[in-house]
Symmetry: C2
Subunit: 439 residues, 2 copies
């Protein structure tokens, strides 16, 4: 029996590309049983054709020109696994305009150019599938797009960067400082040589933008996000968290402000209750909590990165693409995020409410506590707790930690600015939200 | 513009049926945006046409004959939400043989008659979708079928019955006994008037059979499952769990025996480490942990029952059915579980390994501990811990709790039988597995 072949062109043959190639090949028969069609990689674009790879393949498939794959009429599904946002954008746009189904794991690309990509897909009757772009092997994109299709979304919370979660978990378990754990994470391969992308919240922010588009149909510009990484988290913060039943997580929050109904996205170190499921997701794991208005809360946990986990997600998209082609549903653009349709507005800092944690280094002299608390009161920030550990006799400054009742982001920004300017406070105060959910 | 209409016939208009009707209607425009087609309920089968319902609808849609909907050429998607396994089976078989796409939330039906239903679907080129049959609003069926399509499965663990989890959670938090909490759960609507289906593990077992089919392609007969409910769990067990860092969960285990590679399914009260994510899923929530050989472990948590959560899952299947019809992919049977294809064998009790917990009521006289430990040793069961709390001066018996090192299910069954027959032991010993995963 002659079986239909669905052809896949891989643009990029690094860690993930080779994982996709390997697992597609190993499970070719399983997938063919299910599809009634055979999925085969027929072309691979690489930068260096002479480089040694982990898996055997027919060298005749290689090209150094990914654009030739993007527009090759003999390629059904284009897999963009190159990374970067310049050539990757060119290749993805070309393929979508040519009416291809493109599978991408590239969150930076989709975050920065999602609007253009979906416009090109619409123009060319192509489709863009991107399960692997958020939370690696966890199928949260499909959950939001398909499983929760009848829902509108109240909020999405996510631990979206495995490297940051790994570092925070080890700082918590071992009592060691950020720099020490970061160095070990690099040595062990859990952090890149240039760690900034991960620990500064940039990677998590890219993913949050993609999730926000899916849930609310709006591309939020990166510059409108409030993003802070984990480099300023100290053992003082971790000790406070432990003593008070919290864990510190780099938490992405995609939420709608209560009063105004406007959208905001933040990626911030956050005190998360240990009683809440996200407070116990440790190590390199990712987790996403999705609040739908029909289903309630569903939570998805799993490996957020890694060759095989990412390949599993990429291949789920390739198989969906193959099904569409087999069923005759290809060649028609479907916007993954039309629900509601309205362009939701973005919230201003004075519309965003939370409880906050503030850590200050204060000079050790009379009147300091009065000064700090009156500065907070002046900005309408009301105290929930104050902690100052006993200091040594000869210390000249002390660490003061306050938590606040619910206030606005604008109020806390203003109050912290005023504190920073005060002669009682040394250096820059550190602040983070205290999440209210207990699950 | 004249838009295509996808017609849905609801067989059953109880709590879930009305939820599906309501949310489909409320989000008709959202869904139409996404589908390019309008999904409409056009017929509803009920037992009593005069009964008052929660939502307004056109009474002309009503019939008392669900079979007339199953074979109605004007109905595209048949939704079986009647419950039961007699008429529901007839209706589902008729619809599948007529080439319909059938959406079902009926785990008892699929567990008991899955093989016949899928055979009918194959014969008639129909399709059976059943997201809502396992874990309510949590999209775990789609995750296994589609998102993890390239994976073969090492194991699946699940908290699959919300009522049991609710009762165990309250027993743990409040220190109250099973009967007391059960009575309150009934009063609050968290348990049915006849609770046996939920608390005896039957409902969880139905769902485990469905998951096992999806993962391994084999319909395991209900009688081949090891099923025990939660009614025998006492505060002595809960106290032991708390003191040793465990929670007691009614855990469904779908696993492959190490040495033999054979499949087994059990639904048993189980000591689960609090460090493991499933050990912290409390209340009515369900959770499923899926171990795929490519992706690793992914975990899905959410509401396992309830009108709206179940409706969310049913509607995701209806929309998938509508997409298939719009794309032209309907009218072709697809087996959701062909991977591997081989008929995996079922493990015997001597092939299943675990650590176990055993609670005994022993008479308070010299030599008892020697007798108990030598009986266990005789069956090759080696002790990991022994706990006997100090008893009152005038007590005639004491509670003895032992945990074992890894042994086989057969060994523990034999050992417990011997203990029960011993004159040192009063009544029936209670035993449960100690799970080894820490996540």
């Amino acid at each position: 029996m002659s079986e239909r072949v669905i052809t896949v062109g891989l643009c990029g043959f690094g860690v993930v590309g080779q994982g996709v190639f390997n697992h597609l090949q190993k499970r070719e028969n399983d997938l063919s049983d299910q599809l009634g069609a055979r999925v085969k990689v027929t072309r691979i674009a690489v930068r260096d054709t002479s480089k040694k790879r982990d898996f055997d393949f027919d060298a005749a498939m290689l090209t150094t020109d990914p654009l030739s794959i993007a527009t090759d009429p003999a390629v059904d599904v284009v897999c963009e696994l190159m990374g970067g946002t310049t050539l990757a954008k060119e290749v993805t746009l070309a393929a979508l305009k040519a009416g291809k189904i493109v599978v991408s794991a590239n969150k930076a690309l989709i975050c920065d150019h999602g609007e253009a990509l979906f416009a090109a897909a619409k123009e060319g009757n192509g489709q863009l599938l991107f399960e692997a772009s958020v939370a690696g092997g966890i199928p949260v994109i499909k959950a939001i797009k398909e499983s929760l299709v009848v829902n509108r979304f109240n909020s999405i919370y996510g631990i979206l960067n495995g490297t940051s979660n790994y570092i925070l978990t080890r700082m918590t378990n071992e009592g060691a400082g950020y720099q020490e754990i970061l160095a070990e994470a690099k040595a062990l391969g859990y952090a890149e040589a240039d760690e900034s992308f991960d620990v500064d919240g940039i990677d998590a922010a890219h993913k949050a933008v993609v999730l926000a588009y899916l849930a609310y149909g709006r591309w939020v510009p990166y510059n409108d996000l409030l993003v802070q990484g984990i480099a300023e988290v100290t053992q003082a913060d971790i000790a406070f968290a432990k003593e008070n039943g919290y864990a510190i997580k780099l938490l992405a929050v995609i939420d709608v402000a209560h009063a105004s109904g406007k959208l905001y996205i933040s990626i911030l170190p956050t005190l998360v209750s240990k009683k809440y499921v996200l407070g116990s997701v440790d190590g390199v794991f990712n987790a996403v909590s999705v609040h739908g208005d029909v289903v309630g809360e569903t939570v998805y946990i799993g490996p957020g990165a890694g060759r095989d986990a990412t390949a599993s997600a990429v291949i789920s998209d390739i198989v969906d693409a193959a099904k569409l082609i087999v069923n005759g549903g290809a060649g028609r653009f479907i916007d993954p995020a039309p629900r509601g349709g309205a362009k939701i507005e973005l919230a201003e800092p004075e519309e965003i409410e939370s409880r906050y944690y503030v850590r200050l280094q204060v000079v050790d002299k009379p009147g300091v506590m009065a000064e700090v608390t009156s500065l907070l009161a002046k900005h309408d920030v009301s105290l929930a707790s104050v902690t100052q550990k006993e200091v040594e006799e000869d210390a000249t400054s002390a660490t003061l930690i306050v938590t606040t009742h619910t206030t606005t982001e604008q109020a806390i920004l203003d109050a912290v600015k005023a504190l920073e300017a005060s002669s009682c406070v040394e250096g820059k105060p550190f602040t983070m939200p205290v999440s209210s959910f207990e699950g």
